[in-house]
C-alpha cells in the first residue's frame, strides 16, 4: 500500500506540473547560451483499453491452482516526464583541443494500471506494483532506468566517441532484430514502436573512426549485461512472483512460470546469474559502414549474449529437473546490411529503395520440443525490403509504402535433445503445450508499413503497420493516427488488433486487442 500511495503522489506531481507548465507559452527546448546548456521538458501519456471482454485463466502460485477471472480493461496507462539536458562546455573543449558535448536524459514514469483499478491487473498489485514506476524499486537501474541515457561525446579529429549509457542502433530492418540487438528491450508493453522509449540503454564506449567521408569503423565495448525484460520475469525467493497476471505476458513465459510455481504438482526453485563485468564477459562489437555509389552497406560483428535469460534445467532436461538456472548464453553474430536506390531514368522504378539485412547467429538458444529443453543453435536470418513513395501523381503528400520479408533458418543444433516429442521444433513466444505453438527449422514473416501525412505543415499523420507470420498464420495490425494540435501538443489514437491461434506469437494476444490513446505535451 505504501508504494501505491507513493505512486499516486507521483501522478499528482505530474499533473500539477503539467497544468502549471502548460499555462505558459511553451517553446521546444530552452537554450541558455551563457552556460552552453539546452533543456527540454516533455510529458507523454498513453492508455491502452482492452476491446474483447473475455475471462482469463491464470495460475495462483500460493494455492497452486488455476482460477478464472475477468481481465482488466485498462491494459496500460503510462505517464512519463522526459527531461533532457545537453551541454557544450566550451572551456573544456578548448582545453582538450576538440569539441566535447554531454547529454543527460531523465524519464520518470508512472503506470497507474496497477493502482487505478480494483480488478484485472489492479487485483495483482502486490505482484505487479514493481512495474508501476521507475522512481524507486527494481526498475530504477535495469530495464526502465530513471536516468536513461547519459553520456559524453568527444570529437577529436576523424573520431566520434560516445562514453556512457546509450542506445546504439544497427541494421536496416524495421521491427525485425537480427543485427540490432545491442540494446535489449523493455517489453512490459510490447506494442510500443518508439524504440527510444523501450530500448534499454547500455553502458558503452562507442568509438567511431571516420577515416574518410562516407566510411566509418565503429567499435563497441559494453561491460554490463541487461536482459530483455518482460512481465513474468520478476523473481522473489527463488520463484517467479506470478504466472500471467500481466496483460502482456507471453504464453511461453506464463507456462514456464506456472511450472516453476508448481502447476505440475511440485515447485522448481530458480536462481539467476548475470555475467560479471570481467573483460571476458563484456560485449564487443565492430561495424564497418560505407557509401559506395548508390549502395550504402554495413558489415557487422557482435560478440554478445542471448537477448534474454535462458532457463537451464539443472539436470539438462526438464524431464528430471529439480532446479532451474537463469543465465544468458554467449553468442556470435556476424552479418551485414545494405540499401540501394534505383536511379536509372525510368520513372517507374526510380526512387524505389531496396533494403537487405542478414545475420548468422551462433550460440543462440531455442527451446526444443514439447519439453522445451534449451538447445544451442546456429541460425541464419535474412530480410529483404522495398520502400517507395506511391500515388505521388495523385496526392499532394504521397503515401510511403514499405514491405519486408524475413526468414530464419536453424542451420545447426549444437547438442542433441530428447525433448519429449516434436523434436526439431522449437517453442514460440506463445507456446503453452500445443503443437500450434511450435516453429520448425524454418520461420518467416512479412511486415507492411504505410504512412501518409496530411494537412498544411504535415500535422496529421496516419499509418498502418501489419505483421503476418507465414507458418503460424497469425497477424498483428496497428492503424494509428496522430494529430499535432499545436507545436506543443500532439494527440494519438490507434488500435492493436491481433488474430491467430492462442499459442502463436501474435495470436496469443487476440483477447488483448486494444484501442490506445496518446498525449504528447511539450512543456519546455
Amino acid at each position: 500500500m505504501r508504494i501505491r500511495y507513493r505512486g499516486a503522489s507521483y501522478l499528482g506531481v505530474f499533473l500539477v506540473g503539467l497544468v502549471l507548465l502548460s499555462s505558459k507559452v511553451a517553446e521546444a527546448c530552452q537554450t541558455f547560451d551563457e552556460y552552453g546548456i539546452t533543456t527540454c521538458l516533455t510529458f507523454f501519456s498513453s492508455a491502452y483499453i482492452n476491446l474483447p471482454d473475455e475471462r482469463r485463466t491464470v495460475f495462483d502460485a500460493n494455492t497452486e491452482t488455476f482460477f478464472t477471472r475477468h481481465p482488466d480493461n485498462l491494459l496500460f496507462q503510462n505517464n512519463q516526464l522526459l527531461a533532457l539536458f545537453d551541454g557544450n562546455p566550451e572551456k573544456l573543449s578548448e582545453a582538450v583541443g576538440f569539441p566535447i558535448h554531454w547529454h543527460l536524459e531523465m524519464r520518470p514514469t508512472y503506470d497507474s494500471t496497477y493502482d487505478a483499478t480494483g480488478f484485472g491487473q489492479g487485483t495483482y498489485h502486490s505482484y505487479l506494483s514493481s512495474l508501476a514506476t521507475n522512481v524507486s524499486g527494481s526498475m530504477q537501474d535495469n530495464y526502465q532506468p530513471l536516468f536513461r541515457e547519459y553520456y559524453v561525446d568527444l570529437h577529436p579529429k576523424h573520431f566520434f566517441i560516445r562514453l556512457g549509457r546509450q542506445i546504439i542502433a544497427w541494421g536496416k530492418s524495421d521491427g525485425v532484430y537480427m543485427l540490432d540487438i545491442i540494446n535489449n528491450f523493455n517489453l512490459i508493453n510490447p506494442q510500443i514502436f518508439n524504440e527510444q522509449q523501450i530500448k534499454i540503454p547500455v553502458w558503452a564506449a562507442n568509438i567511431v573512426w571516420q577515416p574518410y567521408p562516407g566510411g566509418e569503423l565503429q567499435g563497441i565495448f559494453i561491460p554490463q549485461y541487461y536482459p530483455t525484460y518482460y512481465t513474468g520475469l520478476q523473481m522473489k525467493g527463488g520463484f517467479p512472483i506470478n504466472g500471467s497476471y500481466g496483460d502482456f505476458t507471453y504464453g511461453s513465459v506464463a507456462a514456464i512460470n506456472n511450472e516453476l510455481n508448481g502447476s505440475l504438482g511440485f515447485k522448481i526453485p530458480t536462481d539467476v546469474n548475470n555475467p560479471s563485468s570481467r573483460l571476458n564477459n563484456w560485449v564487443y562489437g565492430a561495424r564497418w559502414s560505407e557509401q559506395r555509389g548508390s549502395i550504402h552497406y554495413t558489415l557487422n560483428y557482435l560478440y554478445t549474449w542471448t537477448t534474454g535469460y535462458i532457463y537451464y534445467p539443472n539436470t539438462g532436461t526438464y524431464a528430471t529437473a529439480t532446479a532451474v538456472n537463469l543465465r544468458p548464453h554467449r553468442m556470435n553474430v556476424a552479418g551485414g546490411s545494405a540499401d540501394y536506390e534505383f536511379n536509372t531514368g525510368n520513372p517507374w522504378i526510380d526512387g524505389t529503395v531496396l533494403r537487405a539485412e542478414s545475420a548468422v547467429t551462433i550460440g543462440d538458444v531455442y527451446y526444443e520440443g514439447n519439453l522445451g529443453n534449451p538447445v544451442d543453435v546456429t541460425h541464419w536470418g535474412i530480410l529483404g525490403g522495398v520502400d517507395r513513395e506511391i500515388l505521388g501523381d495523385y496526392l499532394e503528400r504521397p503515401v510511403f509504402f514499405s514491405f519486408q520479408y524475413w526468414q530464419d533458418w536453424v542451420l545447426h543444433r549444437n547438442n542433441e535433445c530428447a525433448c519429449g516429442g516434436n523434436e526439431d521444433m522449437f517453442q514460440g513466444l506463445g507456446y503453452q503445450g500445443s503443437h500450434s505453438g511450435l516453429r520448425g527449422m524454418y520461420e518467416s514473416l512479412s511486415t507492411l508499413y504505410m504512412d501518409k501525412t496530411s494537412m498544411t505543415g504535415d500535422v496529421l499523420d496516419t499509418s498502418l503497420s501489419a505483421v503476418y507470420e507465414w507458418q503460424f498464420h497469425d497477424w498483428w495490425l496497428q492503424p494509428h493516427v496522430g494529430y499535432r494540435i499545436s507545436d506543443n501538443t500532439t494527440l494519438g489514437l490507434g488500435f492493436n488488433i491481433y488474430a491467430g491461434g492462442k499459442q502463436t506469437p501474435y495470436g496469443e494476444f487476440t483477447n488483448t486487442s486494444n484501442v490506445f490513446f496518446e498525449l504528447h505535451q511539450t512543456l519546455l
Binding site: 527540454c40 568527444l154 579529429k157 561491460p223 563485468s277 503528400r397
Partner: protein, 427 residues
C-alpha cells in the same frame, strides 16, 4: 542476486571509468583538430566599397541617379524607370549604397556564378538559370560550407501560428573546387551536399537528413532521412521534387532540388526592371523579426523565366513565372498558376550577405568578417493563395566555413541528434 548486482555495478562503473580514461587519452594523442582548407574558399575578389553601376544590362542602357529626397534613387533601364527607396528591413549597406549595392555582383573577376560579364548575362542558357540563381544563391560555391539555424513559421489564414520549427542546416557545393574534404573518392559527379535537422518542435526533434545532388540532372538526388524514434537512417524514396518538404509548405523544389529538373521545361520570356511590391511577403516588415536584415532585388533587371511541366508530366502547377536578378544572380520571386490560369502560390527569396550582422565565419561565435559580397539565403516565404496559409523562414544565425569534420554528412552526425549549432558544427 541483489548483492551480486551491487558488486557488479561497482565493477561496471570502475570499468566504464577506465574506458573513459583510455578513450580520452587515445583521443588526445590522435587529436589534431581538422582544419578547413580556407585557401580554397574564394575571398580574393576585390569589390569596391562603392561598386560602379553597370552601363548596359540585357542590351539596354542602365543608370542610377540620386532621387529628389534623401535615401531615394532613380533607376532607369531602357524605357523603364523606378524610384528606389531604402527600407528598414534591408541590410545596412544596401540602405546606405542604394542600387549600387546590388552592382557589387557585377564586379569583374568574381567567381561562378558571377563570372559571366554583366553585359552577357542575358545570354546565359536557361537550363543554367535555376542552379546559378537559386541553388547557388542559397549557398555560394565560393566558400567551403554554409550553415545556419532557421525558424520556419506556418501561419493560418487568420494570421495565427499553426506550426513552427527550428532547422539546423549545413551545405557544401563542389562546383568551384571548394569543399573537397567532404567528398569520398567514390563520390563522382556530386554537385553539392546538404544536411538538415529539426531541433523543434519537440515532436519532430532529431529528424533530419542528407541530400546529395549530382551534376547530371537526370540522376535523382539521393536523400536519407534519420528517424529518432528508431535511431536509424533510411534511404528516402527519390523523385520527390514536387512534394512538400517535411513539416513545411516549401516544396523540395524550393529547397534542395532547386536546379533545373528533367520533368520541366524552362524558357526566358523577357526582362524587366524590377520594382517589387511592398505587399510581397518578405519585402516588408510582416512576419519576419526586425533584426533579420536582408537584400532586396529592387532596382535589378530581372529575367522572366517561365517553367512548365513537360507533356505527360503531372506537376503541382501548370505554369511558374520566376523573376531572376541578372546582377545579383538571385531568384527573388516566383508565382505559380494552375491549369485555369489562377495564381495559386507566391514564393519569395531574399538573400543575406557576408556584411550581415547575423553572419559569422568559422562558427556561431566567429567573427563577422566574411567578404561582403558572399551570399546565402536569408528569408524565404511562401504564400498559399488557395489555402490561405503563409510560411516564413529566415536565418536566425548563419555563416560560412565552419570548422566541421570532413565526415559531417554522415549518419553519425544525424544519430547524435545535435541540439545546437555549436554541437552540429562540431561533427
Amino acid at each position: 542476486m541483489r548483492h551480486y548486482d551491487q558488486g557488479q555495478s561497482r565493477r561496471t562503473k570502475a570499468c566504464a571509468f577506465l574506458i573513459a580514461i583510455v578513450a580520452a587519452t587515445v583521443a588526445l594523442f590522435l587529436s589534431m583538430r581538422w582544419t578547413v582548407d580556407g585557401a580554397l574558399a574564394d575571398s580574393s575578389a576585390q569589390v569596391p566599397d562603392v561598386p560602379p553601376i553597370p552601363k548596359v544590362i540585357a542590351g539596354k542602357p542602365y543608370s542610377v541617379t540620386p532621387g529628389e529626397s534623401p535615401g531615394t534613387w532613380v533607376v532607369k533601364w531602357g524605357d523603364q524607370s523606378m524610384l528606389w527607396k531604402a527600407q528598414p528591413w534591408m541590410e545596412d549597406r544596401q540602405q546606405k549604397l542604394g542600387p549600387a549595392f546590388i552592382a557589387q555582383w557585377a564586379t569583374p573577376g568574381l567567381p561562378f556564378p558571377f563570372e559571366v560579364p554583366i553585359a552577357e548575362r542575358d545570354k546565359i542558357p536557361v537550363s543554367e538559370i535555376p542552379d546559378r540563381c537559386l541553388t547557388f544563391s542559397y549557398y555560394g560555391p565560393y566558400y567551403n560550407n554554409g550553415w545556419d539555424i532557421s525558424p520556419i513559421i506556418v501561419h493560418l489564414p487568420d494570421g495565427s501560428i499553426r506550426t513552427s520549427s527550428l532547422t539546423l542546416e549545413h551545405y557544401t557545393s563542389f562546383v568551384n573546387g571548394n569543399g573537397k574534404q567532404y567528398l569520398a573518392s567514390t563520390d563522382h559527379n556530386v554537385q553539392r551536399k546538404y544536411m538538415w535537422e529539426l531541433t523543434a518542435p519537440e515532436e519532430l526533434r532529431g529528424e533530419g537528413g542528407v541530400t546529395t545532388v549530382y551534376n547530371d540532372p537526370t540522376l535523382v538526388p539521393e536523400d536519407t532521412l534519420y528517424l529518432p524514434t528508431v535511431r536509424r537512417t533510411r534511404r528516402l524514396a527519390g523523385a520527390v521534387a514536387k512534394q512538400y518538404f517535411p513539416g513545411s509548405i516549401y516544396r523540395y523544389e524550393d529547397v534542395s532540388y532547386s536546379g533545373a529538373l528533367p520533368q520541366l521545361d524552362y524558357k526566358i520570356t523577357g526582362f524587366k526592371l524590377w520594382d517589387p511590391s511592398d505587399k510581397l511577403r518578405g519585402f516588408n516588415n510582416e512576419g519576419i523579426p526586425a533584426n533579420v536584415k536582408r537584400v532586396s532585388g529592387a532596382g535589378e533587371v530581372v529575367a522572366i523565366m517561365e517553367v512548365t511541366p513537360k507533356p505527360g508530366i503531372s506537376w503541382w502547377y501548370a505554369k511558374r513565372i520566376e523573376y531572376v536578378g541578372l546582377i545579383s544572380m538571385c531568384t527573388y520571386y516566383t508565382e505559380e498558376y494552375d491549369a485555369s490560369g489562377k495564381m495559386i502560390r507566391q514564393f519569395t527569396h531574399l538573400p543575406i550577405t557576408g556584411a550581415n550582422e547575423n553572419v559569422h565565419v568559422g562558427g556561431p561565435d566567429g567573427p563577422n568578417n566574411a567578404p561582403r559580397w558572399w551570399q546565402m539565403w536569408g528569408v524565404a516565404c511562401v504564400v498559399d493563395l488557395e489555402g490561405g496559409f503563409v510560411m516564413d523562414g529566415w536565418i536566425q544565425k548563419g555563416g560560412f566555413n565552419a570548422d566541421s569534420s570532413p565526415s559531417i554528412y554522415s549518419e553519425t552526425t544525424l544519430a547524435a541528434q545535435p541540439m545546437t549549432l555549436v554541437e552540429w558544427l562540431s561533427h
